[in-house]
Amino acid sequence: MKIHEEKKGDVLVIKLSGKVIGGPDLVELKTAFQNAVNHDRLKILLDLGHVSWMDSSGLGVIVSGHTTVKKAGGEMKILNATKKIHELFIITKLITVFETFRDEEEALQSFED
């Protein structure tokens, strides 16, 4: 798994790519969310468009990140979840927790609403 971070206005876009399987990947992702909060980046757009594989462990870290960001007064939204990952969000009902988007501009704009 690779993590790429990009600031777009006051939104931090965190792009994941590759397989989110377990172990060090999950620690790295959890750290990325915590670092964002530590640096007062409280609007996070998590781009999953290039994630080829993820299971419940990855979802767990995303939920944990969501909780961390929300407790700090921020919000996390999901961009470009692939069909397979979207299915996992539906199965686990996490689709009711996260706002999801297919278009980055629309997602960025939503933080201003």
Partner: protein, 137 residues
């Protein structure tokens, strides 16, 4: 009839090789291209549970993945070395309210929803065994 068996040490180091093995197995045994990833997710959830709950991530303890091609379906049996109690794991429906925000406990839920047929029982030696049936269409 085809058969495959793999014994995996309970270590995170082996997660990705097992995931690749499962996708390849799906391809060889006739799982559709679009379903091989879902198959590997479902089985990996059970393998991870075995490593974690049954074997406490002890690399000296193994998880056994036995795959058998039957008419119209694949049968996976995943055995660990422990005697944990999977009856406490969620069924087909996720929790509500605060449970939704838990960082754990979705593995069996996902496996059951992707495969539609997951069952736990005990081996003759009393170890926990998960059985997953994947339909071949």
């Amino acid at each position: 009839m085809a058969f495959s068996e793999l014994r995996v040490p309970s270590s995170e180091t082996f997660l990705e090789p097992v995931q690749v093995y499962l996708e390849k197995l799906g391809e060889i045994f006739g799982v559709g291209e679009g379903e091989q990833t879902s198959l590997s997710i479902a089985v990996m959830e059970l393998v991870k549970n075995g490593m974690e709950h049954g074997n406490s991530m002890d690399p000296e303890k193994h998880v056994l993945i036995r795959t058998e091609r039957l008419p119209g379906r694949l049968k996976f049996e995943i055995e660990d070395a422990g005697t944990w109690k999977p009856e406490d794991e969620p069924g087909y429906e996720p929790g509500e309210g605060e449970e939704l925000f838990s960082s754990r406990g979705r593995g069996v839920l996902i496996a059951r929803n992707l495969a539609r047929w997951v069952q736990y029982d005990l081996t003759e030696e009393g170890r926990t065994r998960a059985t997953l049936i994947w339909p071949l269409v």
